[in-house]
């Protein structure tokens, strides 16, 4: 199954829409609640990062029997030092972003904690691609 949603940079009212849709699909697929939470929290953090830090982007989601792969691709400033961006507490968020309740520098470390695999690729002044993989455990199974 493949899903795709656009994400608008700067638009905090709409931030979370894509993650909400992903959550609905996972519930229909009877994925267990703990796994859904890991997936949607990771998804939401990556989605908010595009809203907060980039100009525009999209997420492509591929779900099969064993895993979900979410690719967050954006056009934006890119991340000059990915290792530094991964440090808990590191944030370049603007005052506007902080007013919206974000900018603690917790997003990327939290995705890392929740995901089975996290890959960040970025080119300065072009954009960023964040790939999150999480293995699924079906309810009633295993």
């Amino acid at each position: 199954m493949q899903l795709q949603y656009d994400i608008e940079g700067g638009n905090f009212t709409k931030a979370g829409f894509a993650s909400s849709e992903i959550k609905k699909v996972l519930k229909q697929l009877n994925v267990d609640a703990a796994t859904i939470k890991r997936i949607v929290v990771s998804s939401y953090e990556a989605e908010v990062n595009i809203v907060a830090h980039a100009y525009k982007g999209a997420v492509t989601v591929v779900i099969d029997h064993e895993k979900i792969v979410m690719q967050y691709q954006d056009e934006g400033p890119g991340i000059p030092d990915i290792e530094q961006a991964m440090v808990a507490g590191y944030s370049t968020a603007s005052p506007e972003v902080r007013e919206m309740g974000f900018g603690a520098g917790m997003g990327l470390p939290n995705i890392h904690k929740n995901a089975d695999d996290l890959l960040i690729e970025s080119e300065v002044n072009k954009g960023t691609l964040v790939t999150i993989t999480i293995y699924l455990k079906q309810e009633g199974g295993q």
């Binding site: 979370g16 309740g101 997003g107």
Partner: protein, 114 residues
């Protein structure tokens, strides 16, 4: 503690979720930082916050938080109420400060997440 009692203790008004007021909560987290809240994994938790925007409700949705209390007399917008209702989130508005709400609930036995 049931949400009914929590609402009474914080002198809160119920904006949505009237039918869910018997939901039990064990824990409370108090924060205006949503990326902080998103790192918490406890079930049966209420979120106390001074942040009243759409992301407050989205964060609750993603984190499976079933009750949100807006403090310091912050008011939910109609869009927030609609989103909370859609996801069965109980939304309360309390005139208390964060400090007062935490104190009252802590005294009544609501637990901290760590």
């Amino acid at each position: 503690m049931q949400i009914t009692e929590l609402a009474k203790l914080t002198e809160a008004q119920v904006r949505c979720g009237n039918g869910l007021m018997h939901t039990e909560i064990l824990y409370a987290a108090a924060s205006d930082l949503m990326s902080d809240v998103l790192t918490i994994h406890h079930d049966g938790m209420v979120l106390l916050t001074g942040l009243a925007n759409m992301q407050t409700i989205r964060t609750a949705e993603m984190s499976d938080i079933h009750c949100v209390v807006l403090l310091r007399n912050k008011k939910a917008t109609p869009e927030m109420v609609e989103l909370a209702a859609e996801h069965n989130i109980i939304l309360l508005e309390s005139p208390f400060t964060m400090f007062k709400a935490c104190g009252v609930l802590f005294n009544a036995g609501v637990q901290s997440v760590y």
